[in-house]
């Protein structure tokens, strides 16, 4: 599979409320940064643009159309959009480059979740006849999944708190993180439950913002002369929508996607996993068979800040950042969508040979 280079990445600081800043205004600074990093002027300088967002976050049909206003799309550009996390917009862009219709692409994701009540909005992702009318929010579904894991003894509450403690600590080194602190497992376990068995800290925060990335063919990256990392494999899989028909304590689609992306063919220095809930990080790392030596979520992960519709792309970006600084030579980035890890994407990113 043709290798794809990442040459630039930028992310908003994760804030709980962007306030008087609309989507276009959240996107523009991120685009400015990636264009500068890559030595480009604007969207006219790439061959393809693809974005990811969700109208329901804003509460308006066609909300994504305003994103095009951030691009400078005059003269007209080759542009597309997915109503999914921008990690899938990255996937679409990679296909475009592989088929020879583009040598470079701008990918961005954005979301202002603060206006709505995100967990309740996400309840409407469920089967409209049987499940959505029950209005089961995304936190409650995750809580049931955590309950399954605790009751079957595959994890303990302390395991979950450890994930959070590590996230908070790692996030101290991430200037974009929303939640960062030094906190012990004991301190965390002392807190009241929120949606039992989940405590508030077991759930990712709601964050407004955007992230952007520029990718291109390896030849182009060499032409531009900027530091780059290579996506050597990318794959995604979805599982049945019926929660009762899945083993919610495992993630078979993540395992399959990782295999498809060739994750197992080398060491993994760093893994950025999109785990909106602490117990899900454990599910994912076990499904991926990650070893002791792999650093998981050095950015703090999504528990430190969750740019809805951009968090998946951000995981790829965080691995990219660590490769071009030399902190890591090979990494894995994961994105998820749907209730309880229904749909999963895995990308393998390496330094140039």
């Amino acid at each position: 599979m043709k290798k794809i280079a990442i040459v630039a990445y930028s992310q908003s600081p994760c804030v709980s409320q962007a306030g008087a800043s609309n989507e276009v205004e959240l996107i523009m600074p991120r685009l400015r940064e990636v264009f500068e990093q890559a030595g480009l002027g604007n969207a006219q300088d790439v061959d393809f643009v693809c974005s990811g967002s969700c109208d329901y976050l804003q509460g308006a049909a066609f909300a994504f159309v305003s994103g095009v206003d951030a691009l400078g799309a005059v003269p007209p550009i080759q542009e597309s959009h997915v109503e999914m996390d921008a990690a899938w917009a990255l996937y679409e862009s990679i296909l475009k480059i592989r088929m020879g219709h583009a040598e470079s692409a701008l990918v961005y994701g954005f979301g202002k979740s603060s206006p709505g009540e995100l967990p309740i909005v996400l309840s409407q992702q469920l089967d409209p006849y049987y499940l959505a009318p029950l209005w089961v929010d995304s936190i409650s579904l995750a809580a049931m999944q955590a309950r399954l894991m605790l009751d079957s003894g595959v994890i303990s509450e302390a395991d979950m708190a450890s994930v959070v403690a590590r996230s908070r600590k790692n996030a101290l080194n991430n200037p974009k993180a929303q939640l960062a602190s030094q906190v012990t497992v004991e301190e965390l376990l002392a807190e009241d439950t929120f949606v039992a068995p989940l405590r508030r800290h077991d759930c990712c925060p709601i964050s407004d913002g955007a992230s952007a990335m520029i990718i291109c063919s390896e030849e182009k990256a060499k032409d531009w002369g900027k530091p780059y990392a290579l996506i050597t494999g990318i794959d995604h899989r979805i599982e049945t929508h019926n929660l009762g028909m899945r083993d919610l304590t495992d993630s078979t689609s993540t395992r399959a996607a990782a295999a498809g992306a060739g994750a197992g063919s080398g060491h993994i220095d760093v893994a950025e996993l999109y785990a909106p809930f602490s117990h899900q990080e454990i599910i994912l790392s076990r499904a991926l068979g990650l070893r002791e030596e792999t650093q998981i979520n050095p950015s703090g992960g999504v528990l430190a800040g969750n740019l809805m519709m951009a968090s998946g792309l951000s995981r790829v970006g965080e691995v990219f950042n660590r490769i071009i600084t030399g902190e890591a030579t090979r990494g894995l980035a994961h994105a998820t969508s749907g209730p309880c890890l229904q749909h999963n994407l895995v990308a393998v990113i390496e330094g140039p040979a």
Partner: protein
């Protein structure tokens, strides 16, 4: 731009549902599965043969299901496989076909199922299109209210006769009467009836506007080697293009958007088309309001600027009148409009023509056809060229 290293891909299966105002007999899952099963049967393949599924639809508010690919994976046999969902407003049916094709053309997959749909009877499409937004003036203008002033400007510039739109409205409904799947069957429609129908957004009359339909359209797109094995003739994908421009900017040409012209130029170049009127045998073009036929005839280079209405008036685009460049033999968007699927229906109907599989609305001997879709404020365009022969 890169050299074209694309794998050759083809459409080997097409499936549609009957379009009507309300498909009360199926759930959303049932609707998409109906189209998917039809497409697989047409391709003589099963769900197990499919490597990946790409779905597309217009805003989720039209049904009230957020990110419906999560819910629909089971109905589309996609468990354990890659699932993808495209959303580019009204052009989504076309863009979805292009993204599905890219899954094959990139060499990533060999057999892809793509489905687009809208079950807009489940929600309220008019509301979703014009819901009051904070701090904005609520005019409930809808699509018609947006396009009518642009049509008025076209009429002024071209000095077209007042009934060019009426002629299209009649022609497309007569075409639709040949298509058992079409929503509107108006075989006895006349110019007089259209002219006397209620003026909704002057100059758009009721019978010059598209209906609101439930429906789904599916295709199976495969690589060259798989297409060779296919029992029915493939429709070879000869060109694919998409272009976008902003909704609004100073000096924007709204009557014949630059994005449409650029997109057409790109897809024609790929397919080796230099004279669209002559090189194509037919075209399926997104015409939701009758006047968009003369406007798109110009935008797509079938007629010189200002003269699109002449082709319409002389019957060049009419199958019934033996025109040399029939447009929308299926009845087009004016007969059936499940918004998320309409673009793909254009692409699929173009493919049906070059497979010789368009039944009573077949253009004899059609070898090369254009599929076209547009959306948003006439700002998103997707197009493809399909042919009976390989390039």
């Amino acid at each position: 731009m890169a050299n074209n290293s694309a794998v050759l891909a083809a459409v080997v299966g097409i499936g549609q549902t009957k379009y009507q105002t309300k498909r009360g007999d199926v759930s959303i899952a049932g609707l998409v599965r109906e189209a998917a099963v039809n497409a697989l049967q047409d391709a003589d393949l099963t769900f197990d043969d499919i490597d990946a599924v790409v779905i597309g639809k217009a805003p989720d508010m039209f049904e009230g299901v957020v990110m419906p690919e999560c819910y629909l994976t089971d109905a589309l046999g996609c468990n354990g496989k890659p699932m993808f969902r495209v959303h580019t407003a009204g052009s989504v049916g076309g863009s979805t076909a292009l993204v599905a094709a890219s899954h094959v053309q990139s060499g990533t997959f060999k057999r892809v199922l793509t489905v687009t749909f809208e079950k807009q009877s489940e929600s309220n499409a008019m509301w979703a299109l014009s819901s009051p937004q904070p701090f904005s003036v609520h005019l409930n203008a809808g699509a018609g209210g947006y396009f009518a002033p642009i049509i008025r400007e076209y009429m002024r510039r071209s000095q077209a006769p007042y009934d060019a739109g009426i002629k299209v409205a009649v022609k497309d409904r007569l075409h639709g009467a040949r298509n058992p799947l079409a929503h509107l069957h108006l075989p006895n429609i006349t110019m007089k009836e259209v002219e006397e129908s209620m003026m909704l957004w002057d100059p758009i009359r009721f019978l010059e506007a598209c209906p609101s339909s439930d429906g789904a359209c599916a295709m199976v797109i495969v690589s060259e080697d798989v297409a060779q094995q296919s029992p029915k003739p493939p429709a070879w994908i000869r060109g694919c293009a998409m272009r976008s421009e902003p909704t609004m900017y100073a000096g924007r040409e709204e009557v014949s958007p630059q994005a449409g012209r650029d997109c057409a130029a790109d897809v024609y170049k790929q397919a080796g088309v230099t004279n669209p009127r002559k090189d194509f045998d037919c075209a399926e073009v997104y015409v939701p309001f009758s006047w968009y036929e003369p406007m798109w005839l110009e935008n797509l280079g079938f007629a010189p600027q200002g003269e699109g209405w002449k082709l319409t008036m002389e019957g060049a685009t009419s199958l019934d009148e033996g025109g040399d460049i029939p447009w929308n033999c299926s009845g087009g968007v004016l007969c059936s409009n499940p918004i998320g699927a309409s673009g793909m229906i254009r692409f699929a109907e173009a493919a049906r023509q070059v497979r010789g599989d368009a039944g009573a609305h077949q253009v004899d001997g059609a070898k090369l056809a254009l599929g076209h879709a547009y959306g948003g404020g006439a700002q998103f365009f997707s197009m493809w060229v399909v042919g009976a022969e390989k390039p």
